[in-house]
Point group: C2
Chain length 113, copies 2
């Protein structure tokens, strides 16, 4: 994956799902980014639902507030592994993750919700 492309997307202020290949972004890249964004959103939701601050979550994860922020921001520097293991630590199940991944996709043929 080329993180630089994603950075460009974000710099441009785009919600990735809506662009597809507005840049040189390959389909696979776009889908991967959408999956990550789905996980990001899921993480934030779950954290809030648990009534935790980023600092508190960071403690649970044995990480730092800045990393949590980046995770939730969909920063290119965070891996899927980190997102997933964080979600798991928050009690997400495989089914939850599967849903988050599919929720991250923007509809391949149509953009129907």
């Amino acid at each position: 994956m080329k993180n630089t492309k994603r950075a460009k997307l974000e710099a441009a202020g785009w919600a990735v799902g809506s662009v597809k290949e507005f840049l040189g972004l390959s389909d696979a890249d776009a889908v991967l980014i959408n999956m990550k964004l789905g996980l990001s959103r899921s993480l934030r939701d779950r954290r809030k639902k648990c009534g935790l601050s980023q600092v508190q979550l960071a403690e649970q994860l044995q990480s730092s507030q800045s990393r949590v922020a980046k995770m939730e921001a969909g920063d290119p520097s965070v891996s899927m592994d980190l997102l997933v293991s964080s979600l798991l630590l928050l009690g997400a199940t495989s089914a939850d993750l599967a849903k988050a991944i599919r929720g991250g996709e923007k509809g391949k043929g149509r953009h129907a919700a």
Copy 2:
């Protein structure tokens, strides 16, 4: 994630799903490993279905045969990102990935106890 634990598991010849916490393996770690194994299997299946050798797939991925082998072997040194983007390049959809992830899980939902 602690890759060392997984290495130990594999060294012991275990299919991860069957052990849960036979080692100091946390629940979250176990689930993550199972998800990766699900993706590994899915990758091998998809490659074979496409009639590709590891070398050929490696070319498509702009990677190397050894890395493909490790991916399919569930080697601890391969990330979820790599597995997922490889699968996407082979034409898998988000839905396919979601299924592979859930397929990788062994038991009931981990949460309720």
